[in-house]
Symmetry: C2
Subunit: 444 residues, 2 copies
């Protein structure tokens, strides 16, 4: 069994790439003995040694391959790098002239299907046909999401998919008239960064969007269209549509909701529930808790079964890979699906590897995971220093006690920090540990 | 049982509408006793009387409703017309305060779902959720088509879906290097008018595309990219992508292929084969023959089963309505799917109503249908005149003999003619009748 793991990122078919090779090093969590890892940059050896020490994969058995720089340099695995003849020779060499048994990629890109083709083993990549015709993009479209979710009967917030400002105006005014704020979403935004909230009043807590725009009742029209709303759309339409290229989702915004996900692995055999959790925002993504806390039985059932139906719809078209279905739970307790993400997400390595493999059976029984985006004000000079401080303070994850902090990712020079995941018996303990760990990384 | 039939056209979400109300009058073929027909213009009474005389529907039982002019006038049923308050009052009135039992539209538009909502009977429109979130657009996307067809295992010509000229260039050069011409398709083109062929040699018969561009071997690169190909893409990219809004399909072009369709009706109950046929081009669509002629058993099976798999993929996502899967049969006998059309097509009323209802059981057994686009050089001053000449010459369709010419559509003032369909025992007889009928409409 030889597997090729591809540490690619957000598709260049959607956006000109701008990665630094940092985030995709999380690929190391998925590595098993004998795997070949294709990465945009050589991973930090210390990170690799650390991850494999926790997963039990033998570091020495892993082969790392970094293709020559591509049209945008070394930050991301662009299609030209994955098709580089010298790289392909080296990869075939590592495969010893055998086809790969499995190809796993973080992003379901056509370039990965073309890599499978170039290696002569399309069957090693499930969904090869669909992905090769760029079907993977459908799994990141919020417009397609709303159609499929509605089509399979998953509950949605009121809203519409809008190809022109006229239609957007009508639906925004309609929802504002109903007394609710509205969230506008770029079709292919991610990390809430492509979302904006429009409201008649300023008292809306900003979560899951980059900003809130207040349009007075006169501005935003009553039972119709107001000058302020039209001016807002005139100003923002180009941004909302990525320069006229995509459609815009208009959706009722439910303030004070909590955000959850249920993630599935879609294969030729069916749809397997991977995991679920809560996503916290302030206002952009800040933390995750797995498994999903504070849901009653009906809500968890709606989240998982809605996610499964959506996954089955995509699977019937030919999609294979990871698909996370996201939903909000409103203050009234309703579960409403808000988007999906068809790729290995920022949650996948956490529940699937840290949870199920590192923590093991107790994950979700006597242990929960709290992931925290490196907080502003915390600082550490390197991955090694972060690990050392955790180990010396006794806060590093200990397989014996199945408690402690796991470093999830390689060092981020911009943030001067690392992503952390706290493993404890409950959220309270994890938050307490986070406070203690904070002292290791703050001057105070 | 009260049905509302909506004579809408190509979605305004895709293209600014420019219809004249002519083509959608074919809605009359679908009418049954008691139906309410919503049309952009009042249909020609003579056409309506003629169609109902053939279908057996009682003309007097039909109610016709034309909403007030909309933002682009009277040519098409834009969303504003379908949401016009006065129109909605009139429609509710015709419905006598009851919900409609069924809503049938030529185009699966979100505006129709919104009409169903405004009438308080979303359940009357199958697929209401999916269509309301503009899912119907997915059924007209050639990019989505290629992903779904590949995903369900329907055979496709070699090719790719390209979001940028770089990727298009690679795939075009690759296929040209393989020795084949390439057809480029706008994502949402229709009637072959959004297609162009690129070739290394000028000897390619032009069919199913508006033009052919010849790039010499030096121009188009060998094993890579040539200056001529790059210049061609520079020049045409804007047109190919509708101003950067959509992706482009790059596909191996198989000269001297024949083009077929298999059309399905997707409902809550499943996918029903509606009909199949051949489409003839010179170079744009010129004629159709139903049922599909000259296919061997294996080819017909591949056409119908491939079309069914594609339909089932779309149905699993929530699509409901008509879906035509198009394929070419290459000179080598291969069946390769080339696009789909998720709407009531230019074939639907022909096989479903003229074939199955007017001709009846004999359709496809002892009778075939030949539809001919009104030929250049033929001329007639009105629908009535066309019908009179056909009747007086004995060439009008006769229900007794189940032979003759059916006038398919209202009068087209631009073409000075009507669409004709010849019903005969075989293609030879139909072509012979066409020759005789031609004399009625030509000076010679």
């Amino acid at each position: 069994m030889v597997r090729v793991l591809v540490g690619n990122d957000w598709s260049e078919e959607l956006e000109e790439p701008a990665g630094t090779g940092w985030a995709v090093q999380r690929l190391a969590w998925f590595a098993e003995d004998g795997d070949i890892l294709v990465l945009p940059v050589r991973p930090e050896e210390e990170f690799l040694a650390y991850v494999t020490s926790l997963t039990g994969t033998r570091r020495a058995s892993l082969r790392i391959l970094v293709p020559p720089p591509g049209r945008v340099g070394t930050g991301v695995l662009t299609a030209d790098r994955l098709a580089d003849p010298g790289f392909l020779v080296a990869l075939r060499d590592l495969l010893g002239g055998q086809p790969a048994d499995e190809i796993f990629a973080l992003w379901p890109d056509a370039a990965v299907a073309e890599l499978a083709g170039a290696l002569g083993c399309p069957e090693a990549l499930q969904g090869h046909g669909f992905l090769g015709q760029s079907g993977g993009l459908l799994g990141s479209s919020k417009a397609v999401f709303r159609a499929v979710a509605a089509g399979v009967g998953a509950p949605l917030p009121d809203g519409a998919v809008c190809a022109d400002p006229r239609r957007a105006e009508l639906h925004i005014a309609r929802i504002l008239d109903d007394g609710s704020p509205v969230i506008l979403k770029q079709d292919y935004g991610s990390g809430s960064d492509g979302n904006e909230i429009v409201s008649r009043t300023p008292d809306v807590p900003l979560r899951g969007a980059r900003q809130i725009r207040v349009l007075g009742a006169a501005d935003s029209g009553s039972g119709g269209v107001g000058a302020g709303l039209r001016a807002y759309l005139d100003e923002r339409w180009d941004w909302l549509t990525a320069g006229g290229r995509h459609r815009v989702v208009v959706e009722r915004y439910h303030p004070d909701s909590r955000a959850y996900f249920a993630e599935f692995w879609l294969s030729d055999d069916g749809c397997r529930l991977g995991g679920h959790g809560e996503m916290q925002y302030r206002p952009l993504p800040d933390a995750q808790v797995m498994p999903a806390p504070d849901l009653d039985e009906r809500q968890l059932h709606t989240l998982v079964e809605g996610g499964r139906r959506i996954s089955e719809g995509l699977r019937a078209m030919g999609y294979r890979g990871v698909l996370s279905a996201d939903a909000v739970v409103t203050p009234a307790g309703e579960v409403l699906f808000t988007e999906y993400n068809g790729r290995a997400t920022g949650s996948t390595h956490i529940y699937e590897i840290v949870g199920k493999r590192v923590v093991g059976e107790g994950f979700g029984r006597d242990r929960i995971l709290l992931e925290r985006v490196w907080p502003t004000g915390w600082e550490v000079p390197s991955f090694g220093a972060a690990l050392r401080r955790l180990r010396e303070s006794g806060h590093a994850y200990d397989p014996e006690t199945r408690r402690g902090a796991v470093v999830l990712a390689a060092y981020h020079p911009g943030r001067k920090g690392v992503m952390l995941c706290f493993v404890d018996e409950d959220l309270e303990s994890a938050l307490h540990r986070e406070q203690l760990v904070g002292k290791l990384f703050t001057a105070g």
